[in-house]
Amino acid sequence: MKRCKVKRFSFIVALVTMLLVDTAVCSAADIPQKQTTKKLIYIVSDLRIPFWTIMERGIRNRASSLGYEVETYSAQNSRKSELEFTAKAIQKNPAGIIVSPTTSSACKTILKLAKAADIPVVISDIGTDGGEYVSYISSDNKEGAYGIGKVLAKELYRRGWENGRVGIISIPQKRLNGQLRTAGFMQAMREAGIKGADLKQQVTFSYDETYTYSKELIQKYPDLRALWLQGSDRYQGALDAIADTGKKGRILLATFDAEPEFLELIPKGVLVGSAMQQPYLMGQEAVSAMDKYLHGKKVEKNPQLPILAISTDNIKEKLPLIKRNVLGIERQK
């Protein structure tokens, strides 16, 4: 009799347990998959741009280490595509969205849509004009530009070209990062007492555009002694313009951001230097921030990662950092 009671009790306990477990499993099944699938979606403006590609690698790297799946949508610099990908991302109901928007304005819309879907968003570079986000990972554009400005000024002084002017081919100044970069650089120029020539804002970011702007500046300002490109990928346009105008070796070129070949160009002196963002690191930090958020931890709202002001002087020293954080060259396992 006693045994029957024990058996019965055990059965009931087991049944209840099963029910509970089943309920838990069902509940877990009902809960959005963000908790279970740990998917992150990265919406990026344009993967054709190495910067974003490197950033994506950083994201994937950190996501992988933290157990997230990452899906990347590249908008190809199209607002429409960006929106479409945003809608798509929302539909997928990821655990979080990391966005490197086409513009800070577009970012606001993305944030709004994501918020409506209750999906947390971490912004990785560019920024936003508003809206709610988990964290905004950015580079200290101003400090970075200031740094490369100092490098350029130092070189100009070294060459005795301190009386020359410096022209700027900038990214759109309506962008905050553009404004910051210009502000930091001009601060360095002011401090060095070096006059600015002109500033031309890039629109297409094409080689031709870079070449044309460079040539115009060189022709317009005979005392032009340096060009600073606020981007990096169309550096050749600038170099060609310098060469074509017969100013090779007489006009310095500095950039912002980096290309792999800078590792050679800088030491060679083809480029004076470059303010290098660390997109890989930014990507990693974006994921880390999202992860912290998802785990209910406190997240820094607007961390600014340092920009490496690399010149001939420190390129060797910073090479590992450059390789990984700037260029996204991952170590082979």
């Binding site: 607002r79 429409k80 960006e82 929106l83 809608a87 304005s105 577009a106 819309t109 849509l113």
Partner: protein
């Protein structure tokens, strides 16, 4: 029932009510109008703004929608929301919606309850409800250049802001209105007080300060404001008019009083002499009698009648007569102590009342003084006139105690004095009454006698005393009244003269006498010259000469047979006039004799001028001849004068031979009197003519 003054509402209060009401109503209307205007302006502006907003939004949002720049057009919308009247702008983005798989992406901005601009959530029921309740909304389609509908933009305008603004306007208007109204009311009150009430009060104050007749003592102040000035000016004009009217009224009153007094005076005083007239005299007499009764004292009434006044009036005219009366009055005033006791009773009659009579000597003394003072000649128009008077006196209580009695008796006494030769004073005696009555009877009888032909002409021969030859006769009238009997000329002649019947009587005598003379001549008898007594009154008649001529023609009497006798005293009443008249009569051939010469006051100068032929010595001078030395002297003088003036002279009243002889011896051979014959009727004279004296 009239309201008492204190219960009457002040015009200040009335004006105040009007002002306050008017100001409040005006300001209210203004405020309402202003509110409405501003509201309309706001609505208009709102519509304009919304249209402008839409206009700019449409284009820009379209472009941004096409660029999928959601945030950009969201920013545009936010910027478009800035004007406060924009409640919400909602964009329907079909393109983004299409991407998002919802058909339309709705975004926009809306104001929360605090007016803060927040994102529009299409799923927010409250927000959608708010949109429905908006004052104004409009939706505009957004189309791509290819005319594809890519979205809409809707604007919502709430009236909350407008209402808040309007409420603010209302409050501000109310405050403004209250302040402005208050200021206006205060100002108007002050202005009314200063410019209307104060002047009115001043006017009332001035008007209140009036005299016993209610006429303001001073003029109303004339303030500058035209209407007040006009009122004050008009009131002052009225005051002036009233004062002038009052003065005029007063003057008129005074005039009327003066006129009344004058009338009264005229009613009681004689216009010519200024003396009390009969009416006043009667009152005074009555009063004097009463006073005398009370005091038990005597009083006397003197009735003074001027002698020969009628002759003066008739001969020289009323103007001269008035002057005589004036002079007489002055003399009487000087003579009578108390002027108020003197009165002009009428015509040429004066009365004097003497009160508190102590004795009769007072009366006699006064009467004599009057007689004397009036005897003196009166010079009027270069004439020296002799008037004289007859005075009758009655006494209270001796003769009567009523005004009628005293008057009657004084009058009777006066007539007695007249009858007794004039220039006389007589106290009343009872027989005077009889005589007065007789006189009245006489007058009546006289008239009847003339009418009935009761008068007879007697003739008294005039004889040459030397030759004892009849050379003429004087016609004398006798009256054989069937009622009275034979009446002496002395009785009826004065009455005839005083009544004016003498004219008719004289003509009666003239006619009969001249008829008789002519008859005698016709019979072959020689009656001589017919002398007829005529008064100056007769001679003064304008038709006398014509009458004489006619009578001469009718009777057949020749002008040479006629002699007219005029008494000296009659001539001397108006000597100049007498001269003219007598000259005229003399021109037709009539002889003129001065009768009763020596009894008048003729001056030699006048005597020279008179066209007379004969002087007739008055019988009063003959009566005592030849014994009375004075009469002898006078008679001789008269004879001598007549001779010197180449005038005939005849004496009348000769009754004795001694008188006749004296006269004849002294050159007056013409004799008339009882010595030769009494006056006799015609038949007896005829006998004398036939048989001789």
């Amino acid at each position: 029932m009239k309201l008492p003054f204190s219960s009457r509402q002040s015009i200040y209060v009335t004006l105040g009510i009007i002002i306050i009401s008017t100001v409040i109503v005006s300001m209210s209307i203004h405020s309402i109008h202003d509110y409405q205007k501003r509201k309309n302006q706001m609505i208009e502006e709102m519509n304009k703004t919304s249209k402008l907003t839409i206009s700019s939004l449409q284009k820009n949002v379209t472009n941004l929608i096409e660029s999928y720049a959601v945030n950009e057009y969201d920013t545009l919308v936010l910027n478009a929301m800035e004007p406060n009247d924009m409640f919400a702008i909602v964009v329907e983005d079909f393109k983004t919606g299409e991407i998002l798989g919802s058909g339309t992406y709705i975004s926009g901005k809306i104001r929360d309850t605090k007016g803060k601009i927040v994102d529009f959530d299409p799923n927010n029921t409250a927000q959608r409800e708010q949109l429905k309740q908006c004052y104004y909304s409009d939706t505009y389609t957004l189309s791509s250049p290819e005319k594809e509908k890519i979205g809409t933009v809707s604007i919502y305008i709430s009236d909350k802001v407008m209402q808040a603004e309007l409420n603010k306007i209302i409050v501000e208007s109310l405050v403004d209105m209250l302040i402005t109204s208050l200021l206006m009311i205060v100002f108007l009150f002050i202005a009314i007080r200063l410019f209307i009430l104060k002047p009115l009060s001043s006017m009332v104050s001035v008007i209140s300060n009036s005299d016993d007749d209610g006429i303001p003592l001073s003029f109303v102040p004339e303030f500058k404001a035209r209407e007040i000035f006009a009122l004050a000016s008009t009131m002052n004009t009225m005051i002036k008019s009233i004062r002038a009217f009052k003065i005029a009224l007063l003057e008129q009153h005074n005039q009327l009083r003066a006129q009344k007094n004058a009338l009264q005076y005229q009613a009681t005083h004689d216009a010519l002499t200024g003396l009390a007239n009969r009416v006043l005299f009667s009152e005074r007499l009555e009063y004097a009698i009463e006073k005398s009764k009370i005091r038990n004292m005597r009083m006397a009434l003197l009735f003074v009648d001027l002698d020969h006044f009628k002759e003066i009036n008739d001969s020289l005219g009323h103007e001269a007569g008035d002057k005589v009366l004036s002079i007489v009055t002055q003399r009487l005033k000087h003579t009578v102590v108390k002027e108020e006791s003197l009165a002009r009773f009428g015509g040429d009659e004066f009365t004097v009342i003497i009160e508190e009579l102590q004795n009769l000597e007072e009366v006699s003394l006064l009467a004599d003084k009057i007689l004397n003072v009036l005897l003196a000649p009166i010079a009027v128009n270069h004439h020296e006139l002799y008037v004289g008077c007859s005075i009758g006196i009655s006494l209270y209580p001796d003769n009567g105690d009523t005004t009628q009695d005293l008057l009657k008796y004084a009058d009777a006494a006066m007539y007695a004095a007249k009858n007794e030769g004039r220039n006389n004073v007589r106290y009343y005696s009872s027989e005077m009454t009889t005589r007065a009555l007789e006189r009245v009877v006489m007058e009546t009888s006289l008239r009847a006698g003339l009418k009935n032909g009761e008068f007879i002409v007697y003739f008294q021969p005039q004889v040459n005393g030397k030759e004892n030859r009849l050379f003429g006769m004087e016609a004398l009238v006798r009256w054989n009244s069937p009622s009275v009997g034979l009446v002496s000329p002395a009785a009826f002649i004065p009455i005839a003269e005083s009544t004016g019947l003498i004219v008719e009587l004289d003509r009666y005598v003239m006619k009969h006498a001249m008829t008789q003379i002519a008859q005698w001549y016709k019979e072959g008898l020689n009656p001589g010259i017919l002398s007829m007594n005529l008064t100056m009154k007769q001679l003064q008649q304008k038709d006398f000469i014509e009458y004489l001529k006619t009578l001469l023609a009718e009777t057949g009497c020749s002008i040479e047979w006629v002699e007219l006798e005029v008494t000296e005293d009659q001539i001397m009443i108006h000597p100049d006039e007498a001269i003219d008249i007598l000259r005229e009569i003399s021109r037709i051939g009539v002889k003129i004799a001065v009768d009763d010469f020596g009894t008048g006051y003729s001056s030699l100068s006048y005597l020279k001028k008179l066209p007379i032929n004969k002087l007739k010595i008055d019988q009063s001078f003959v009566r005592e001849l030849p014994d009375d030395e004075e009469d002898v002297a006078i008679t001789k003088a008269i004879i001598a004068m007549a001779q010197s003036l180449n005038l005939d002279v005849i004496a009348e009243g000769v009754e004795t031979v001694e008188q006749k002889d004296f006269l004849v011896q002294n050159g007056c051979i013409n004799i008339q009197g009882y010595f030769y014959s009494k006056p006799k009727p015609a038949d007896e004279i005829r006998t004398i003519l036939i048989e001789g004296l």
